[in-house]
């Protein structure tokens, strides 16, 4: 440890492991403090650290009991193939049954999981992962590098069906160094690779797995029952390598209808529910034994126009500006999301991201100015179609509010609401103006790469800005904090000024959970604590 006062949460991983071990074994205060002071900590700091560690030990999870978690939509296309995970339901099960190389923390850093140590060369083009030894699969076999190579290769190559292949597209090859070490060789630097590998799709499978009717993983639970569209049930894996899997049984399924889900939760039929309708927050907090589980996140909704459609007309820029100026952001955040979100500023990075630029002025509702922009075009009062679907809370409302404000100044939008099924395949990226909903990504760079880089498959606006892409790639290698801050500010400003999409609100992940559930996680990437909850949840009344 360095010669500055350590805080419990900031201890290096191996240090905190030692500390926990000491505390559990009953080391006295004097012994622990002695150890820490020998390493250079002051007495006060060491005392505080000891206090916190003991407290954490007292809140240790109890074993036993059963919990039922109710997610959102499920269906026959629920899958146990990590490469094909598409929904929160899949992600939750992924964490129940599988493990990954790294695990993401609440602050969107990473922790070692199946990879004990993660090292890179100086310019982040070669990453080495030293694998944990002694890890067992659910079927008793041992975890080795072959499993990692097999799992990772499924995301590579042009014919990969993986949903996350773009996150690792800069990897040229995965190499096995020995049975417990692998190496990834990249074609361009990526300092965030370990973080990307902690996301949902990069779960490790046994070498050669092709049958996903069940899951053989290294996760804290084993599959007791898996019926897609019905339920998944896990029972604890006795030989789990880590701390976790405290319940006797963990059941997870989906209740698609939000009213039913809320009823089930309030009636006590399920112990946790995903996507609490924000308007019901007061009711949940007012009910004994029930709480809201919300995570400040950078997830957002937007209305994205295809910049390459409708003629490459410079007057189109006025249309996009008008749409941005007609966004009723306050009403979305305060009225629809009930404060569980933040005002969007027409670019994807909000305060939940580390690289958030606070200097950007907030765009506001300004129908008069919108009208001025509209008058620069020749559209007049002809209705402009916008396609919407209920892909997230507020996704349809953002269009309806825009329509309402527009009508006041004589601008007409025709909001066509379509069903959510098939939306992503047939409507998004196809229609000239359509809504979208985005989950938060671990880093601003990943987020912007996925959605705004000219070469990205998900560049919904088809924005061609080479300067943006250059800057985006360049900043990945920058270590000087001031320079980095400036570059990220530039990137966000570019999107805010030039991209044209209307991004009126960011939303938190808002779930609800019963009081007797402990061990909640808070990784702001998805529902149920970033879908990390299965490892640590337990029943307080077990």
């Amino acid at each position: 440890m360095k010669r500055n006062d350590p805080k419990f949460g900031q201890l290096g991983y191996s240090d905190s492991e030692i500390l926990n071990h000491m505390v559990k074994r009953g080391a006295s205060r004097r012994q622990v403090m002695g150890w820490m002071m020998a390493a250079g900590a002051t007495a006060t700091a060491a005392g505080t650290v000891f206090g916190t560690a003991s407290e954490a030990w007292a809140n240790t999870p109890k074993r036993g009991g059963k919990l039922i978690f109710a997610g959102d939509q499920h269906g026959p296309n629920d899958t146990l193939d990590p490469a094909l995970f598409t929904s929160a339901v899949d992600y939750f099960r992924g964490r129940m049954f599988y493990g990954s190389l790294t695990r993401l923390t609440d602050s969107l850093g990473y922790e070692p999981e199946l990879a004990e140590e993660v090292l890179s060369n100086d310019n982040a083009t070669v990453w080495t992962f030293k694998l944990r030894k002694g890890v067992e699969w659910h079927d008793g076999k041992s975890f080795t590098a072959d499993d990692v190579i097999y799992s990772m290769n499924r995301h590579m190559g042009a014919d990969s069906v993986s949903n996350a292949s773009s996150l690792v597209s800069m990897i040229d090859a995965w190499e096995k160094v020995n049975d417990h070490e692998v190496r990834a060789v990249l074609s361009s630097p990526n300092a965030d690779l370990p973080i990307a590998l902690g996301t949902f799709h990069f779960k490790i499978l046994q070498d050669g797995t092709t049958d996903f009717s069940t899951a053989v993983g290294t996760g804290p639970y084993r599959v007791k029952e898996f019926k897609p569209g019905v339920r998944a049930v896990g029972v604890p894996f006795e030989n789990y390598w880590g701390e976790g899997g405290y319940l006797d049984e963990l059941e997870h399924y989906g209740i698609g209808d939000s009213v039913s889900r809320l009823n089930a939760f309030l009636a006590g039929d399920v112990d946790a529910m995903a996507n609490l309708p924000p308007k019901a927050i007061d009711q949940v907090t007012g009910t004994a034994g029930r709480d809201v589980w919300s995570l400040k996140a950078g997830a957002y909704i937007n209305i994205a126009p295809r910049l390459d459609m409708g003629g490459n007309n410079s007057s189109n820029a006025h249309v996009w500006k008008a749409m941005q100026l007609l966004q009723d952001r306050e009403r979305l955040v305060r009225g629809v999301l009930k404060g569980q979100g933040s005002l969007g500023n027409d670019q994807p990075i909000n305060a939940a991201y580390f690289d958030y630029c606070a200097d950007l002025p907030q765009r506001e509702l300004d129908p008069e100015k919108a009208k001025w922009h509209w008058d620069q075009t020749d559209i007049g009062s002809t209705a402009v179609p916008v396609v919407a679907a209920e892909v997230a809370p507020g996704a349809v409302e953002q269009c309806l509010f825009m329509q309402r404000e527009a009508q006041k100044v004589g601008i007409n939008f025709d909001v066509k609401k379509v069903t959510t099924d098939g939306y992503w395949g047939a409507v998004w990226l196809v229609e000239p103006i359509a809504v979208a909903s985005w989950n938060m990504r671990p880093t601003a760079n990943i987020m912007m790469t996925l959605a705004f880089a000219p070469s990205a498959a998900w560049n919904e606006t088809r924005w061609e800005n080479e300067q943006f892409e250059q800057l985006l790639v360049e900043v990945r290698g920058v270590t000087d904090p001031d320079q980095r801050r400036q570059m990220y500010c530039d990137l966000q400003t570019m999107i805010h000024e030039e991209n044209g999409q209307a991004l009126p609100a960011h939303r938190n992940y808002v779930d609800a959970v019963a009081d007797h559930v402990g061990g909640l996680t808070h990784v702001p990437l998805n529902n149920f604590g970033g879908a990390e909850a299965p490892v640590s949840i337990y029943r307080k009344d077990a």
């Binding site: 009213v259 809320l262 019901a280 329509q403 379509v418």
Partner: protein, 308 residues
């Protein structure tokens, strides 16, 4: 109920008429229909809603998507000055939306039921009086559609062409046409084999004469009474589509979708008018139509049973 086809086949009794065909004379009873008190109640309520449907958009205090209290950021507010029935899930005025919704709900279901009737009766009677080949083809195709769940059919159509009002009318109309077809065909068949039609054929009367002079006068009573019920099922069908997100689209108001989008009021709203008002509207409309239907059919026959 919303997705149940109600059909007859071979049997004498159509839905709620107390009339037996063995009892029908050559010419149907021609007394004018005089409503009883029950009938009058039905007529009054129905007329009320029809007036609201027609004049609602002019009389409503707000436009259907307007906010009475733009700075409040609330929902399900209690009835107060400025919003006599309170506000709904998006803080819009419930009363205005009921009034706009009346036109839409009544308009769509009426148009759809008319379409169902027109198609079903024409094809059904047509099948009854035509030769076995035509009858067989039409009946088989009809049965094929009847055996499929109505919601699924609605879903397929909406997924294919989007959910606009004309699409809803066509979808509901054609789906329920299958039921009406069966009914009309059954009635038509019964009449065709009765003695007076045999006599007419022997006399050499043409098809058209048989249709207008024998079939229609005898068939119209059960068909008309069925119309009222069909209307109700169409209203419920469209509200079930709304439950699945496929019916009338926001921000347009329609009673069925209003019940759906305001379900949360029962759990966490300050006021439940947002859901009670449209549900009551649907209920009063359907009950009043039924009262009329029952009254008319009671007038039509079955006097012996009444005397018991």
């Amino acid at each position: 109920m919303s997705s149940t086809p109600a059909a007859q086949d071979h049997f004498v009794a159509p839905f709620s008429a107390d009339v037996s065909f063995d009892e029908l004379p050559d010419a149907p009873p021609t007394q004018r229909y005089r409503p009883t008190i029950v009938g009058w109640i039905g007529i009054t309520i129905t007329a009320f809603w029809v007036i609201v449907a027609v004049f609602g958009p002019w009389l409503a205090p707000y436009a259907e998507n307007d906010l009475p209290f733009p700075d409040a950021y609330e929902e399900f507010q209690v009835p107060q000055a400025g919003a006599w029935l309170g506000t709904d899930v998006e803080d819009r005025d419930v009363l205005s939306r009921i009034m706009f919704g009346a036109g839409r709900t009544l308009g769509i279901s009426f148009a759809a039921t008319l379409l169902a009737y027109f198609t079903g009766v024409v094809l059904g009677i047509g099948a009854a009086i035509s030769g076995p080949k035509v009858d067989m083809t039409l009946s088989r195709v009809n049965d094929a559609f009847l055996s499929l769940p109505t919601i699924m059919l609605g879903l397929v159509v909406v997924a294919a062409v989007g959910s606009s009002i004309p699409v809803l009318i066509l979808t509901a109309g054609l789906i329920y046409a299958t039921v009406v077809f069966r009914l009309a065909r059954a009635i038509g068949m019964e009449i065709m084999v009765s003695d007076f039609v045999e006599a007419a054929k022997v006399r050499g009367e043409g098809r058209w004469w048989i249709i207008t002079r024998e079939i229609w006068p005898n068939a119209r009573m059960p068909l008309i009474t069925d119309f009222g019920l069909r209307l109700i099922y169409v209203i419920l069908f469209i509200s079930s589509l709304s439950f699945l997100g496929l019916g009338v689209q926001p921000p347009q108001a329609d009673w069925g979708s209003m019940v759906r989008e305001n379900l949360g009021a029962l759990q966490y709203g300050d006021s439940i008018f947002a859901i009670v008002a449209p549900a009551l509207a649907i209920a009063t409309l359907t009950v009043s139509i039924n009262l009329i239907v029952d009254d008319v059919s009671a007038h039509g026959g079955g006097k012996l049973a009444k005397r018991m």
